[in-house]
């Protein structure tokens, strides 16, 4: 078993055991998966198209937020507790450590996001009185592109959390996450009311996720043990 898998497995185990974090995530999913749907559907015109739009941007936004929530636990907690110092003395390379943590964030965040997609579909179906299912491109988007986006954003945030001190992290992570969510909303608004999710839109979103992953993976070469050490809290 590779060290990346070992780290990922430990992170998932630890996240599952962090009741407060999991509870916050579940509340967030339920609130957005159930309570915002009636209002969202009301303002989107034709139900089938509205379902696709919800499946596209709401599931993506929820996924990114789940990743953000878990990233703080997975990357920052070890810096705060000082455990990272011991971890840096193991044979684990920084790239393995970062990759394992990204996988450890992406797996539970994806599962919760899938759950939110089911909730959204169910709530929308109950609200409209008909069975609403996302189109094939949106289904592909939810199953493949959203996890890739979760990995991309958590990888980027995790990288900055390794590189920066605690205070800088608070500011920058807030900026990154809300910047990305704002960008998604902005693009949707820009597309106008006639916006529909096509394979092209899904491919572009997936491409953006891949680009972020590649850029962040390249940036990890600038990570060093010393950089992490000097940004530990006193």
């Amino acid at each position: 078993m590779s060290r990346i898998t070992v780290v990922a497995e430990k992170e998932v185990r630890q996240l599952v055991k962090s009741r407060n974090v999991m509870l916050s995530a579940l509340i967030f999913v339920v609130v957005f998966g159930i309570f915002t749907i009636p209002a969202a559907l009301g303002g989107m015109g034709e139900a089938g198209n509205a379902m696709d739009t919800l499946g596209f941007y709401l599931v993506l936004t929820l996924g990114i937020f789940m990743g953000y929530l878990f990233t703080a636990q997975v990357f920052l907690r070890e810096k705060q507790s000082g455990v990272i110092e011991t971890l840096l003395c193991t044979p684990l390379s920084l790239r393995e450590l970062w990759s394992g943590k990204v996988a450890g964030v992406t797996i539970p965040a994806t599962l919760l996001t899938y759950f939110s997609a089911v909730l959204i579909t169910g709530t929308a179906s109950i609200f409209t009185g008909e069975t609403l299912l996302p189109s094939v491109p949106v289904l592909f988007h939810i199953i493949i592109v959203v996890p890739a986006f979760i990995a991309a954003t958590s990888g980027l945030i995790g990288f900055t959390q390794f590189m920066l001190g605690m205070r800088e992290n608070q500011i920058l992570n807030f900026g990154i996450i809300f910047g990305i969510i704002f960008l998604i909303t902005f693009v949707r608004e820009l597309a106008g009311p006639g916006f529909s999710v096509t394979w092209g839109v899904v491919a572009a979103t997936g491409g953006l996720a891949l680009l972020i992953i590649m850029v962040t993976a390249w940036l990890t070469r600038f990570l060093s043990r010393e950089r992490i050490m000097v940004t530990l809290p006193e």
Binding site: R3, C89, P91, M229, V230
Partner: protein, 285 residues
């Protein structure tokens, strides 16, 4: 450092002990020169890090995981063969059998320290770096940790680098010490040599007749190579710089002083340490 030796790295808070350790472990870069462990720069050599065990002030444990889960995690990172068996063996070694399914967050400081030691030993390191291993422990736990360190050195020929400001601990466990002050090594020697030969030797003479103490004091004060002569009833204490003890006794007896007992007093590491600190603060290296 010699293989199998326990090397004590002594110094007051802020002297640079932990920083030295971090430089050796490749966590910080030296401002000049280089630092190698097992002939490798640990900052760049992932493979050599698997031959080194580390117990920093933080035990490197996760509170949300059980004792066993913590050890299994590190065992897998170090690619230890049959990790479950090795974990069981080490839990027994540090006396935590039966607590393996408990969350580490519920452990006492001493138990966490023991588990931290078990963690550091998982991969059978050739050299073990310990940063203040008994800090915050009760006397019983301190004793247990000291015994563990000695057992590792004696039974497994493990080399141990012990960072500490606990002089008693260092004197009891270490074969060689370095004393650090403001980032510079002020003394480096074996504990035996530091506490006896080569430096001032404590010496005391008990007189059979307390009435002769004044005369004996005069004789001693006139002799070369003796410092800090002091009297406590019929016992005269002094520090010998150059004179061997038997010449002191001979000199007293020649002058009619009746000596009941003569004793060489080894200086404690604490006295040596305080001496070095005083000299360093006075600008004498």
């Amino acid at each position: 450092m010699e293989k199998g030796e326990i090397f004590g790295y002594l110094g007051p808070n802020g002297a640079g002990k932990t920083t030295t350790l971090r430089v050796l472990l490749g966590l910080l870069s030296p401002t000049s020169g280089s630092a190698t462990v097992l002939d490798a720069d640990l900052a760049k050599d992932d493979a050599t890090r698997s031959r080194v065990g580390v117990l920093m002030e933080n035990n490197g444990l996760y509170d949300q995981l059980t004792a066993r889960e913590n050890l299994v995690y590190y065992a897998r990172l170090y690619e230890v063969g049959r990790p479950a068996d090795r974990v069981t063996e080490l839990l027994e070694f540090v006396g935590l059998t039966g607590r393996e399914k408990d969350l580490v967050g519920n452990f006492s400081t001493g138990m966490k320290r023991k588990l931290g030691i078990a963690r550091a030993l998982l991969h059978r390191p050739e050299i073990l770096f310990l940063d203040e291993p008994t800090s915050g422990l009760d006397p019983e736990a301190q004793h247990m940790v000291r015994e563990l360190i000695l057992r590792l050195s004696q039974a497994e020929s493990m080399t141990v680098f012990l960072n500490s400001h606990n002089l008693d601990e260092v004197q009891r466990t270490c074969s060689r010490v370095a004393i650090l002050h403001q980032g510079r090594i002020r003394a480096l020697d074996s504990v035996r040599h530091l506490t006896s030969a080569g430096r001032k030797t404590g010496f005391s003479v008990t007189l059979a007749d307390p009435g002769q103490a004044g005369k004996a004091m005069d004789i001693l004060s006139s002799m070369e190579g003796i410092d800090e002569v002091a009297r406590n009833e019929n016992v005269l204490g002094m520090m010998l710089v150059t004179v061997p003890p038997h010449e002191i006794v001979a000199g007293l007896v020649r002058n009619g002083i009746r000596v009941e007992e003569a004793r060489i007093q080894k200086r404690s590491l604490e006295e040596i340490y305080l001496d070095v600190m005083r000299q360093a603060e006075g600008g004498v290296a």
